[in-house]
């Protein structure tokens, strides 16, 4: 089933960590397998935020020397970052296997991502000036507390609670997906894509990489490919309505925008609250009510609809 949620403060920033946690807690019943957040904080100059992991949560209970392997993999990440000319400004250990680095790096981000992910068990969750992508197994309360997300100040966010249907229960199959190699682009999705393998093969031939077997990853890579060719976010999303097959509602966020798209069958739910200051979307209104306890006017976007909002 899965639950998705998104919010954007159009004129100021807010505690989006707490707001998105509340929204995803309200959607827990739609999918308890994993929870993910894509939070957009205020950029600090040209500093990039790099979120990566070097093992799956379940790996930590396996093998005799996994703890040493994790340390070795992280050291190798550090070495390769330095080799590529990236300067590590700050390192934070969110969990034993997931990390947050602030780096200075002017080089090719695709090359950096490919080189880091060449390390056994390593996966880049996000690279961005503002984007921080956090995902792990468990419900929103657990993941939010584990990664200390309450108090995260920013302009917009998307999130996901996952009911695994098409692929494994692990972090690599959890949402959101970073739209590799685009900095600051992330996607969450509710639904099933029926032309996943066809679309994946076509995009792989064009040089894109997939880290999971989850059909939702196709949307992130598809949009990245479109934008790489020069299309705007909205145009890319409108094309996706025709070219992605199946039932879907998805949210996409960029450094300054939040977008939603709904398939032509309108088979997957989405409720929308819109005001001059704040936009909130979710699979169920109860999630919007968790940040707006008062009575508000909401509505369902229609079939085949694409909307994009910008923070000012």
């Amino acid at each position: 089933m899965c639950g998705i949620a998104g919010l954007i403060h159009r004129k100021k920033t807010g505690d989006i960590g707490t707001e998105m946690t509340k929204m995803l807690v309200s959607l827990k019943h739609r999918g308890p397998d994993s929870t993910g957040f894509a939070l957009y904080g205020k950029p600090k100059g040209n500093e990039l935020v790099l979120r990566f992991k070097v093992a799956e949560q379940e790996d930590m209970a396996k093998g005799f020397d996994i703890h040493q392997q994790v340390k070795d993999r992280r050291s190798e990440v550090d070495r390769r970052l330095k080799e590529l000319g990236a300067k590590i400004l700050k390192e934070e250990e969110a969990t034993e296997y997931a990390f947050r680095y602030r780096i200075e790096y002017d080089g090719d981000r695709r090359k950096l991502a490919d080189y880091i992910e060449d390390i056994d068990g390593a996966e880049i969750l996000s690279i961005g000036l503002g984007l921080e992508l956090i995902k792990d197994l468990g419900d929103a309360t657990r993941v939010s507390e584990q990664y200390h997300l309450k108090g995260f100040n920013g302009s917009h966010a998307i999130g996901h609670t996952r009911m695994a249907t098409e692929s494994d229960v692990d972090i690599r199959s959890a949402h959101p997906y970073w739209a590799y190699p685009f900095a600051d682009v992330s996607v969450v999705h509710n639904g099933q894509l029926t032309n996943y393998w066809k679309g994946r093969r076509a995009l792989e031939h064009r040089g894109h990489r997939f880290v999971s077997n989850c059909d939702s990853e196709l949307i992130a890579v598809y949009l990245a490919d479109k934008m790489q060719q020069g299309a705007t976010l909205k145009d890319s999303m409108e094309d996706s309505i025709e070219e992605l097959d199946g039932v879907f509602t998805y949210l996409v966020a960029t450094s300054d925008s939040l977008g939603m798209a709904k398939d032509t069958m309108a088979a997957k739910p989405m409720v929308l609250y819109e005001s001059n200051e704040f936009i909130a979307l979710a699979s169920e209104e109860v999630a919007i009510r968790s940040v707006f306890p008062r009575e508000i006017d909401t509505f369902d976007p229609y079939e085949g609809e694409v909307r994009v909002w910008k923070s000012e």
């Binding site: 309108a266 739910p269 109860v286």
Partner: protein, 279 residues
């Protein structure tokens, strides 16, 4: 008489005979008028109660409603429903229920008898399998609005999502604004009025019933065709809409009427064995 059939008859419900085409046999209008479910509560509409649903979950809200009806309250006000799912379901009683806020999914499903007014919005699948009574929603509604309703009036004064009245088997659904795609899919009986625009595939594979549309129709579904409006039904529509403070944008006669073309294979008179020979 078999136990199942006997208990059905005791409850005053109709039985279905599945010989050949489905034939429904209903009890007389007099029986229907005085019908009460076994265990229905004797309520007084002048006895009024209200409660705050904010701290309660759906089960607690529904149990509270039942408890108040048991105490004879015939007018109940629910405050702060908070878009919770499954609220006010399975009410088989006469009752004036006022909901001061919005409901989540499956609100007011499987009801038979109450008159419900909702100040806010309702989520997906509102009034599913409604049998009788009225529901009036002041704002918008989600998709699958009034799926498989068999009777009563279901009114949304705002916009509604996709698949309004799929499998509708009776009653009247009224949408004051716009409705999405696939409305009236496999509709079998009853009336649907959409005063705004209707999405694509309207009335797809409808068996019977009538759909009236005030705005533009994005596209008709398979076997849905335009019908001819009569004075009698225009009068009925005007009266019905007036009851809820609504009106057709250019008068009832200007509504577009959609009915089943009845050209699909299931409308021929061939028995299955004969069909095999023909095909």
């Amino acid at each position: 008489m078999a136990l199942r059939e006997k208990s059905t008859a005791m409850m005053g419900m109709h039985t279905e005979q599945l010989a050949g085409r489905t034939q429904q046999r209903f009890f007389s209008p007099e029986d229907g008028e005085s019908f009460l479910y076994p265990g229905a509560y004797d309520v007084d509409f002048n006895k009024r109660a209200e409660f705050d649903a904010g701290p309660l979950n759906a089960t607690e809200i529904n149990l509270k409603l039942r408890d108040l009806m048991k105490q004879g309250y015939g007018t109940i006000v629910i405050k702060n429903p908070g878009a919770k799912h499954g609220v006010a379901v399975g009410i088989l009683n006469r009752l004036n229920l006022k909901i001061e806020g919005s409901l989540g999914y499956f609100g007011c499903g499987l009801i038979d008898g109450p008159n419900i007014s909702i100040k806010g919005r309702v989520g997906w699948s509102c009034a599913e399998n409604m049998l009788s009574g009225t529901i009036v929603i002041e704002k918008n509604a989600g998709s699958t609005f009034g799926a498989a309703i068999r009777g009563g009036d279901l009114v949304c004064k705002g916009d509604v999502g996709a698949r309004v009245g799929i499998d509708q088997k009776g009653g009247t659904i009224i949408v004051g604004g716009r409705a999405g795609a696939f409305c009236g899919f496999m509709m079998q009986r009853g009336r649907m009025v959409i005063l705004g625009d209707a999405g694509k595939n309207l009335g797809d594979s409808m068996y019977d019933g009538t759909i009236y549309v005030g705005g533009k129709i994005a596209g008709l579904g398979v076997d849905a065709v335009e019908g001819e409006m009569t004075d009698l039904e225009a009068q009925w529509l005007e009266r019905k809409l007036k009851l809820y403070g609504l009106a057709a944008p250019n008068g009832a006669m200007k509504l577009t009427k959609i009915v089943a073309g009845k050209q699909l294979w299931n409308y021929d008179n061939l028995e299955p064995a004969e069909k095999k020979i023909v095909l």
